[in-house]
């Protein structure tokens, strides 16, 4: 908080390539696709029962987690561009990658054993 008081975080940046916006929108598109996948999984409930609920709950939780982090990520990007340094988004990459891998795994399990 003290750092924020010294140097107020502004969302402005002077990158003509609009990289922070493009990255933020890429995350949003990905989250929307995740939501679409969730809704298609709903169609499985009559056939496979409650196992189809597991990926939906999981994907929604991951989506909410990433969505919460996105604003902070955008601020970091805008700030990092000014300082010529942005930390690698390791946590976000691992959460999203693991979610899609687990979703596919649950799908494979349901098709093979369902």
């Amino acid at each position: 908080m003290s750092r924020r008081a010294q140097a107020p975080v502004t969302l402005g940046h002077d990158d003509p390539g609009l990289q922070p916006e493009r990255t933020l929108l890429a995350w949003r598109r990905t989250l929307m696709t995740l939501l679409v996948v969730c809704t298609i999984f709903l169609r499985w409930i009559p056939h496979f029962g409650l196992i189809a609920l597991l990926p939906i709950v999981l994907a929604l939780m991951a989506g909410i987690l990433i969505q919460i982090g996105l604003n902070a990520r955008y601020r970091k990007s805008a700030k990092g561009l000014k300082q010529e340094r942005i930390p690698a988004p390791l946590r976000e990459v691992v959460v999203l990658g693991a979610t899609v891998i687990v979703l596919s795994g649950v799908g494979i399990y349901a098709v093979v054993f369902g």
């Binding site: 056939h47 990007s77 010529e84 340094r85 988004p89 990658g97 596919s104």
Partner: protein, 134 residues
């Protein structure tokens, strides 16, 4: 850790896990980090499209395919989704590591595999449409 250039020091908030995963070197140009992030997201969306396709084939094509064929198509799409998402993560990490030490970027191994797989599946579907309609 290499001695970083002034103004490009490694970020202080990196914990031990990310330090060991990202390897030596210093933070690359932030535009490159963001570009790598967007490329990862594009691959993840590709994986999600395969995933959605696999789920949809299993759920909606009961009247079109025989149960065995339906299961095979759904399963191959789901395996492809898993493969693409895993390789997206690995590639993101590899590119990030290469950029930190300013080495050439690794080649995308998945691109030829995906093109070949896509062509094979399309050919299979053409055969199915020709002989299935007879």
């Amino acid at each position: 850790m290499n001695s970083p250039e002034p103004g490009k020091a490694p970020s202080p908030d990196r914990d031990r896990i990310s330090a060991s995963l990202l390897g030596p070197g210093c933070e690359p140009d932030p535009r490159f980090t963001l570009a790598n992030e967007r490329t990862f997201l594009a691959w993840i969306r590709t994986a999600l499209a395969f995933l959605a396709g696999g789920i949809a084939v299993e759920a909606f094509t009961g009247d079109v395919f025989s149960p065995g064929l339906r299961r095979a198509v759904a399963l191959s799409l789901l395996v492809l989704a898993m493969l693409v998402s895993a390789s997206a993560c690995i590639r993101w990490l590899k590119v990030e590591r290469a950029m930190r030490v300013r080495k050439p970027l690794p080649l995308p191994v998945l691109v030829p595999i995906l093109s070949l797989g896509g062509a094979l599946v399309a050919a299979g579907l053409i055969v199915f449409l020709i002989y299935g309609a007879l």
